[in-house]
């Protein structure tokens, strides 16, 4: 089976091929839960503003 020459842009899938990506230690090793730490250390409204600025559209049809 030939493979594609195109490259994916792995944002949410970046850990999918890692053997320990599903485990906490593997997750944290690759920067996991730093965003939560950052959010918790700020007052709630600023995090809301941050995600609001990037309108990630709903991914379903409905």
């Amino acid at each position: 089976m030939s493979t594609s020459t195109l490259q994916e842009t792995k944002v949410v899938t970046q850990r999918f091929d890692a053997p320990d990506g599903a485990r906490l230690d593997g997750y944290r090793r690759t920067g996991g839960y730093e965003a939560l730490r950052k959010a918790l250390s700020t007052r709630a409204p600023s995090s809301a503003t941050q995600t609001k600025a990037s309108p990630a559209r709903s991914k379903t049809a409905s």
Partner: protein, 328 residues
Amino acid sequence: MERDPHQLIEGMAVGAYAIGSTEMYIFCRGEFAYAARQLERAAAEAYEAGILGKNIMGSGYDLDLIIHRGAGAYICGEETALLEAIEGRRGQPRLRPPFPATHGLFSKPTVVNNVETFACVPHIITNGADWFKGFGTEKSPGTKMFCLSGDVERPGNYEVPFGTPARDLIEGFAGGVKGGKKLKAFTPGGASSTQFFGPDKLDTNMDWESVMAAGSLLGTGAIIVFAEDVCMVRAALRYTRFYAHESCGKCTPCREGTYWMVNTLERFENGQGREEDIAIMNDVAGNIIGRSFCALGDFSIAPVTSTTKLFADEYRQHIAKGGCPFDR
């Protein structure tokens, strides 16, 4: 959920903190046994590590996660039916208003989003909104996991920026139509794509606005590919059977209309279709869309309307031949 459950948990946690909620629920399809196990395991790890539970990460904030497994109803993907199911009732959509944002789960203000949406959140927080907007288009920023299936060499999930042309996904990443056959049709957004696309639309950019301009909806990003020797009537029958089976039954148009369309398509499959059935099915579809209680009804008509519009000749061949022209 299977490969990176913590990403989902983290994204949800940020969202919960943003709205001041201390309870999060993941509604996981009952059939997804492996995903549920992965989620349970990840949740247990997170509780153990103080990332969930009381005083998470020493912040003074409490946060709980409950993983709820569904019992096999597609309708529970509709957000208010999902809430009903978590509350222990039959999964039927609720009247809106009020909307979940004000009266959601257990009548509390609730945010409902999909897995992929929450999965983006940690990355946006870490790298910033501008970084995320650097991918994709102005109206469809960021990346999307497209799921390629059907008659392709390499079916699978491929994450690309919004705006990637369909050709890149189908012929590039997925290796083109299986066995080198010609492409007959593909769905830009799964079974609920309002219009199937033919080969003429291969250069459509896969983002919200471009797909809509080309006459369909990006929806879930599930690109299903049909080769030249696939019977589109049979495909429509399979999809419509799915919708009829999954219809919750609450409202008349969806419940009775999908039943009607399935019966008509079955007659075509058995060689007993009639010319007038094509118009009747479309009229039935017109009596479902915009009239049903929720979007399942609206989307249930797409396979029928789409295939009768683009592949009417296949229907007529069923009538002429007294059966499926693709069967040997």
